[in-house]
């Protein structure tokens, strides 16, 4: 009897300017494997199904618990985290590709630094006076904590941006992850001191007006952030700010 195997097809690209090729692998099956353990198996024996020696696959990963946000890729066409993609639940051959909206570094690794730049643009932080002892923070009711906590669970995986029809290099649209952070910090008792500046950053090209409410982001988010609510709330805040700006300038 032939041993049970896992069939994998991986889109590989040696460097940002290289041509993409698909390499096929077949590795021994074990129960409870995830896509990461498949890639680890290939690294330990980098040989294609045709017996051709190749190189271990380059990909980003770190925590393997779906909390660091490193290992997002396209798995059978869907943007998701490789660590939480269990082989037993996936159709074979597994098709692994890099996210398509970000520049490829190599193989499955892409450059997602645009998100961190966006977070700077909207000042996604609480501007504290200093790190010395200034006593207790503001009181916050459990209800408010429970509303804000989910927004603080964003792992910067960029799946929401990958699936967004509006997000691409040309539009410069910030994407849902950044909008959610605007809401999070605008709702914080201290963070709201920068509310106007954040809202101004969300106006104009690439701002929230570029969102076409396709809501693909809501479905793709592995942490189930309340993105639709965040987009609609920030959209309203921006509109009110725009009205206010008319009367104050």
């Amino acid at each position: 009897m032939a041993e049970r195997t896992i069939k994998v097809e991986i889109k590989r690209q040696h460097d940002p300017d290289g041509n993409a090729v698909v390499e096929k692998f077949e590795i021994p099956y074990r129960p409870n494997m995830n896509v990461i353990s498949v890639l680890m198996e290939i690294a330990a024996r980098p040989v294609t199904v045709d017996g051709k020696e190749t190189t271990p696959v380059t990909y980003e990963s770190n925590c393997l618990e779906e909390i660091c946000g490193s290992c997002s890729m396209l798995i059978n066409g869907r943007a998701r985290m490789a660590c939480s993609a269990l082989v037993d639940n996936l159709e074979q051959p597994l098709r692994l590709e890099p996210l398509s909206k970000f520049p490829v570094v190599r193989d499955l690794q892409v450059d997602r630094s645009v998100l961190f730049e966006n977070l700077k643009r909207v000042q996604a932080w609480v501007p504290i006076d200093g790190s010395y002892d200034l006593g207790a923070g503001p009181r916050i009711t459990p209800q408010v904590q429970e509303e804000n906590y989910p927004l603080s669970n964003c792992i910067s995986c960029c799946c929401c941006m990958e699936v967004c029809p509006q997000f691409n290099v040309a539009t410069g649209f910030v994407g849902a992850a950044t909008i959610a952070q605007v809401k999070l910090f605008n709702d914080h008792p201290t963070g709201k001191v920068l509310k106007e500046e954040r809202l101004h950053a969300m106006m104009g090209d690439g701002g929230i007006q570029d969102c076409a409410y396709a809501q693909n982001c809501v479905v793709a988010c592995p942490k189930e952030l309340p993105l639709a609510q965040a987009i609609s709330d920030v959209g309203r805040q921006v509109m009110l700010q725009a009205v206010k700006d008319i009367f104050t300038t």
């Binding site: 460097d15 409870n32 494997m33 995830n34 680890m40 690294a43 330990a44 024996r45 980098p46 020696e53 190189t55 271990p56 380059t58 990909y59 980003e60 990963s61 770190n62 925590c63 393997l64 618990e65 779906e66 909390i67 660091c68 946000g69 490193s70 660590c83 939480s84 269990l86 570094v105 190599r106 193989d107 630094s113 961190f116 700077k120 000042q123 996604a124 932080w125 609480v126 504290i128 200093g130 790190s131 002892d133 200034l134 207790a136 923070g137 503001p138 009181r139 916050i140 009711t141 459990p142 904590q145 429970e146 906590y149 603080s152 669970n153 792992i155 910067s156 910090f185 201290t190 963070g191």
Partner: protein, 593 residues
Amino acid sequence: MASTPKIIVIGGGLAGLSAVMKIAEAGGKVDLFSIVPVKRSHSVCAQGGINAAKNLKGEGDTTWQHFDDTVYGGDFLGNQTPIKGMCEAAPAIIDLLDRMGVPFNRTPEGLLDFRRFGGTLYHRTAFAGATTGQQLLYALDEQVRRYESEGKVQKYEGWEFLSAVLDSKGVCRGICAMNLRTMELRTFAADAIILATGGNGAIFGKSTNSVVCTGSAQAAVYQQGVCYANGEFIQVHPTCIPGEDKLRLMSESARGEGGRVWVPKTAGDKREANSIPASERWYFLEEWYPKYGNLVPRDVATRAIHKVVYEHGLGIDGQPMVYLDLTHIDRATLDRKLEGILEIYEKFVGDDPREVPMKIFPGMHYTMGGLWVDADQMTNIPGIFAAGEAEYQYHGANRLGANSLLSCIYGGFVAGPKAMQYGKNLQAAEGDGGHTAELKRQEEINRRLLSSSGAENPFKIWRELGDVMTKNATVIRYNKNLQAADGQIQSLLERYRNINLSDKSMWANTSFAFTRQLLNMLHLARVIVQGAERRDESRGAHYKPDFPDRNDEKFLKTTKAFFATDTNGPRFEYEAVDTQFIPPRPRRYDAVK
């Protein structure tokens, strides 16, 4: 000399970011190096919470009590002065985190809520759902991003630390690092450097640690002369979810919120967990430790589970697993307090732990030992500082749950300003401070690796190392096995010379970077097994059946390992422990202490 010292921080987890924040705030110049974008650092994995004796539950908790629990939990191996400082600073650290916007859970009055954790009888652990580490890391990441946007911090993400640059007098003058995309080697000048590079779980193959937690940076400076302390103290967390790629942590908060550990009383009981009546379940922790119950410290719980599985033969269905049961707690409470960790179990195992008891087993989790540092967080090499899990000084022989996040932040808060102070008084280097020579040494290492044409796959050597370490140097240790393990590691070192890099390209070559880390892991593994072999006693996480008692007369001492260039292996010294505040007493969790 330098009016504005230049500091390099390596590692962007909680310890590194804390140090960066303090340096930037004090007007210093700081470069932050990290293998991964700092927001993806391993600190995100911490789940349960952070300890501080805020005494908001009317229990009469004090920072002294926190100090005593920490020292006692660490089986008196920790130097008491720094631990006392950490516990006293904890309440203000929580306030600061709260001001930064960490979404801590709240009481109805809007105050911080606290939960219980292992090794204490007080509600002392502040928490943000079950993702406390993630929330804390993000808060610090945001503050550092703010400084970065003001031009006060320069980030080098995607650069891997390879070594310290030392001048002719042995003083640190900077670092050598490798760009993980271009594979370029470069040295960077600094008046002081802070290593905040985390633990070394990868040495054990599978652990709860992240991929980057190889201990490579610590091992690199150890080979350059930095002392490595208490390497033999490795925390095996009692409740992990076994996996193909790693062991996933099931947080202690599951027990803090009432989770109960049990096995069926009958060996090989085939029934579903829920259909086994209470009278036929053995809640062994509650029986053996009536006062602390399921909340005994991690080393105690780990050995108990080990014993029930291997001595009593009562693992679930004959497998090395026991139940961790939350099903008696209502869904709403579980979702409010533990949702994050329950989702992990659900996602990676496929069962809902609100309905079915979880199956767990102990796994390598935390590195108590680390780079030896003094009260200023400086190692024995002038200008090399360390903070966080990479150093050794806050947890003694066993770390208490929810003290790790605290020690990272506190250590970073000490290291940052102390490194600044040191830098201000530093005399200028002679010549180029050793930069040219260090760059050349590292280029030579790369050149040799790339021209190696052996037959050994680095990932296979790594797997073997992990097996050797997990088998011989975790829960139960025997001298004979430790000696054999050291021999096996030496033969892996021998095979390493015959390595085969299947990828020799100079662009984003992750297996090349890994192969460099592997050599460092092998060297650090020897420090762990040899340190364990020499310590003929049982203390905290270090347990030898042949020496079942703690021996204060001989071993109330810090193990200090130095790399001996003549033997290419560790040389050991021992140092007395600072016990000036709390005299050592027997550590027993089956009775009130």
